[in-house]
Amino acid sequence: MISLARITLIREWRRFLPAILAVGFAGLLVLVQLALLLGIFRTIAVYIDTSRADLWVGYPDTRSVDLARPISTRNEVFLRAHPTVADVEAFDWSVGDVRRPDGSAALATVIGIDTRAGALALDRVVTPAQRRALDEPDTILVDMSSTANLAARLGTMLEVNGRRVKVVGLTRGLNAVGGANLTASLATARSLDTGAAPDQVGYFLVKLRDPNAAARVRDELAPRGVNRPYSVWTASEFSEMSQRYWLLESGLGLGFLFSGGIALCIGIVITSQTLKSVVQASLREYATLRALGISLRSLRLVVLEQSAWVGVIGVVLTVLITLGIVRLAAVFHILVTAPGWAYAGTAGFIFTIALASGVLALRALAQSEPATLLR
């Protein structure tokens, strides 16, 4: 038997095109904003997420990894004393004033990592060869996302805090929110950090014999009392803490949430108005069916089916274009993260918008006697 909804959609697709595009692009806006936001947050925690440590040890009550303050190197002994701890290594963090080859200035984060083979720090972005190369004093790695910003290539000489260093490798995936990420050996990082005291370090990374015991060991290592020398976090906990800090307490996160919210509102308005106008264009025809005795419920189902199809096609459009954008972003070293739940959530959401818009559009028919529409 014929389906009024589908036949209308197929034969009168031009009338539905604006609604489909509105739904699709509303979803696209939300999803891409979300992917960028998640990408940025992943950037915040990239040091944690690309390292192999089970526990992070740092200045008491540090709220985000980038807010590092030095702790005493003497703490290492206590950490190593725990039977479940397999290895402890230092991780340095400082800010560098970079002078590019052309003399102009830029800001960078200088990360000092252990260069031993199999070290924990930045395990997923620094190759073993690059780690070995850093053993040579005054050498650094630059991330590909920052090469343009620093005007640096392999072999370029940069000046960091007044000291000349050579770029001996390019990392991939070590994006930075502000400035650039420079990776160096602990010794080089120390020599570049003009304010560093010799017996201090940014963080200790801890590897456990049993990674599943992370939460327990964290509690056992945590110092008690008022003047605690350090805090201990599991890697995932520290990553989440850092991202949450940026989401809720930095203007950046709130700004993104705000613009995502606006994108959503615009999408809702455009979609509902367009679907409403499509339904209202056929209001007299629907009223005629009402006169012929076809119940409001049956007509509602027709409009719902129509809206559902608009939603489905819109969702497909959203997903396809977002996949394309995510791929494009990777080419330009822009960190966007679109996990499955973001796709599913956005799809569910815009599908709901489409359905709700259809129901609202029929209100004109439900609220008036058919006779008044048939004048």
Partner: protein, 233 residues
């Protein structure tokens, strides 16, 4: 007249607006309409004829009065019951045709049958029959944009006819048609009344139709001014 009326209204009142702007559209109007006849309801604009048609067909609730359709008091029924009654017994034709732009003539006729849950094969047969009855069998595959005004109205008639209604309501069915097409449409309505025994009530201000009517009710200011049965060949 020995036949019982299929459609009767008693003491209908209907007004719009309030206070000084209040307009009484139907004033204590009572009327009986009989099956097998084409009854025309005429009168100047604003005389209340369209409101009467809407009230008589259960599309509009009057302020006071009673409406009996096929022996049933239609006003004392729920919205859902009224829908069911109209679905089973009523056909409608409007001045504006009100055809879905996406559907072919055949599909327009088929659509109400689908909602009536008529089995597919039977529905298709009835739709073909109805289109043949209005002389559009060869145009069944066309969408409204490809049909002339007269053909669109005949499609609308076929849509009403396929339901096999006992009551057929037409609101200004010829107003947007030329003389020739208007004549075809009114002839069709007349034949439906005569051959199928349906009660056909047609509201019009088109004097060309008077010759085709079995009965003419002339309305003015919400009252029946004249009720006549023209004698013609």
């Amino acid at each position: 007249m020995s036949v019982a009326p299929t459609l009767s209204a008693t003491a209908l009142h209907k007004s719009y607006g309030a206070g000084a702007a209040r307009i009484e559209v139907l004033r204590n109007l009572s009327v009986e309409i009989f099956p097998g006849e084409l009854t025309l309801c005429t009168g100047p604009s604003g005389s209340g004829k369209s409101t009467l048609l809407a009230a008589l067909s259960g599309l509009l609730t009057p302020d006071a009065g009673a409406v009996t359709l096929l022996g049933e008091d239609i006003l004392n029924r729920t919205e859902r019951d009224r829908d069911a009654f109209r679905l089973a017994h009523c056909g409608f034709i409007f001045q504006g045709f009100n055809l879905f732009p996406a559907l072919t003539a055949f599909e327009q006729v088929l659509l109400p049958l689908k909602f009536m849950a008529v089995p597919v094969a039977a529905a298709r047969e009835r739709a073909h029959e109805a289109l043949a009855a209005v002389g559009l069998a060869h145009r069944a595959h066309l969408r409204p944009t490809a049909l002339s005004g007269g053909e669109k109205q005949r499609t609308a008639i076929a849509r009403a006819l396929a339901k096999q209604p006992q009551l057929l309501f037409a609101d200004e069915p010829t107003s947007s048609l030329d003389g020739a097409n208007g004549r075809i449409v009114i002839d069709l309505l007349h034949r439906i009344a005569r051959e199928r025994g349906a009660t056909v009530l047609c509201v019009t201000h088109d004097p060309r139709l008077h010759d085709h009517a079995d009965r003419i009710i002339h309305l003015e200011d919400g009252r029946i001014l004249r009720d006549s049965r023209p004698t013609h060949s």
